[in-house]
Amino acid sequence: MSEIALDLRHLSKVYANGKVALEDVSLQVPAGTFYALLGPNGAGKSTLINMLADIVRPGGGTARLFGHDMFRERAWCKRHMGVVPQEVAFDPFFNPREVLKITSGMFGCKPDMAWIDELLDRLELREQERKTTRQLSGGMRRRLLVAQALVHKPPLVILDEPTAGVDVELRRRLWDFMRELNAAGTTILLTTHYLEEAEELCEHVTIIDRGRVGTDRPMRELMREVAGRYLWLSYGEGFVLTDADKEALAAFQPRSNGRGVCLTLRHAQGGFHEAYEAAVARFGPPQDAGVRQEDLEDVFIRLTRKDNLS
């Protein structure tokens, strides 16, 4: 198989109502990686995934899965790809075991009962296997979607926010399972709003915003070169950052959490004194202050700010 699992070139999509969902999106997902596709709501992530899954008609551009044209060799590509959709979808007539057997058959595979048993165990659906999907909780239904995406053992799995509504403990066990699959060679493309999970799991990250690729680089490189430190200054509840404040402190990319202000410190030079003095000059002495290392969430917020688009 090709070393590139997913090779997307110049993908675009304009909906019938004129909304541009994707604009010249290109990315390459190496085989065997755990790959993050991030972006704010409405960025175009789900459109991209739905286009690959054949739920949305393709616009322009090309997409290849392990070297096969996804828009021309649909059947081959669908057999080699599993997708966990963002929206919970469940067939009210069947129980989880039946759903997995049906999904397996529809993907052209003879149901592998040992694998179905393992999926039910690993995704903690064994006790519910004979209940109809109508009787499952939201979290259980979402885990069933994950099982459906894996039941035909695809070499590429696309997870579109698979852990929304799943409790912390189960989430951790789900990720352990995904790590095992990834270690065994499955390529995983993940979209999530839990950015600490993406940071922990993924080797590569692409951030798309308003239909365009903003950042595309290895996670470590992004965190090393883009993630800096920031100075936080607390001014108590009700703190408001006005447009004038933002303009005055623009060099430090200020943002507020409602109790104070965070100022980005320039990566190489540090810039602690400049930032601190600028804040004190603007707001007065803070109640408390400190310096923190940015995580992926901070970087994400900074990179997808409305005034930060190229």
Binding site: D54, R57, A75, A89, I102, G105, M106, F107, G108
Partner: protein
């Protein structure tokens, strides 16, 4: 996309068949009860009268029509409800994501619709036959019209389901198109009993040929020549299948 996934098509067929069997009270028993009620009501309303112009007792005339009407309505309901429930519950994405060609998908849906229609027909025959000494004058016509009618209505259900955005849209199609066409197709009357204008109108109702041909298969008399109507019904079924294939192929109303 060429047909490459027979197991997938078979699984979809089995899924659709299981779906209606899981709610058999609603899909099998209820139509049988409705047919018995029609029969009882019309027995008392019509007494022992014969159908004018056909020289056949009303009971023997009515039973095949009721069976065919139930087959048509159930075939339509099977595909239309599956598609609209799928769209509303978002499950239709699994149909779209599966490596199934349009031919395989449509074939599986239509086969399941036909299966439901045949099961309903079988149950109705068992329930209604004791009320009459119904014969099988032309079994080949019974099979032809039964199968074509089921496929045609399954196909219309598929198209209706794809078109509908919500259950209300589906109810609109069912109540304002399908129900009137089936009720006004000669199930309860011979068209020779109608005024000339309405006789002509009836001949433009495709369901009329289905009911009349199917009935001819049982009692050996009818309002039209069932061998001529074979072409009308066969052609309509073929066109309907092609339209279903094309609409599914392009993702009409199911893909954005």
């Amino acid at each position: 996309m060429r047909p490459v996934n027979p197991r997938g098509a078979w699984t979809l067929f089995v899924r659709e068949t299981h779906r209606f069997m899981k709610v058999k009270m609603q899909t099998i028993v209820a139509p049988a009860l409705t047919a018995v009620l029609y029969l009882l009501i019309f027995r008392y309303a019509m007494g022992a009268r014969s159908v004018p112009g056909l020289d056949v007792d009303y009971f023997s005339f009515l039973i095949p029509g009721l069976i065919m009407m139930a087959m048509l309505q159930n075939a339509f309901a099977n595909t239309s409800s599956s598609i609209i429930v799928g769209k509303v519950m978002n499950v239709h994405i699994y149909l779209l994501m599966a490596p199934l060609s349009a031919i395989e998908t449509v074939a599986a849906f239509l086969a399941a619709a036909m299966m439901r229609a045949l099961v309903v027909a079988g149950v109705l025959l068992l329930v209604l036959a004791p009320f009459s000494d119904l014969g099988f004058a032309h079994w080949e016509l019974i099979m032809f019209y039964g199968v074509c009618g089921s496929i045609l209505m399954g196909g219309l259900g598929l198209i209706g389901g794809m078109w509908a955005k919500k259950f209300d849209d589906m109810a609109l199609v069912n109540n304002f198109i399908i129900m009137p066409l089936t009720f006004l197709s000669g199930v309860f009357y011979s068209v020779t009993q109608l005024p000339p204008l309405w006789q002509t109108v009836n001949h433009f109702n495709p369901f009329f040929y289905l009911i009349d041909g199917f009935r001819y298969g049982f009692i050996g008399v009818g309002d039209t020549d069932p061998y001529m109507a074979l072409w009308v019904v066969g052609g309509s079924t073929l066109i309907c299948m092609l339209v279903c294939w094309y609409l599914w192929h392009i993702g009409w109303k199911v893909k954005e």
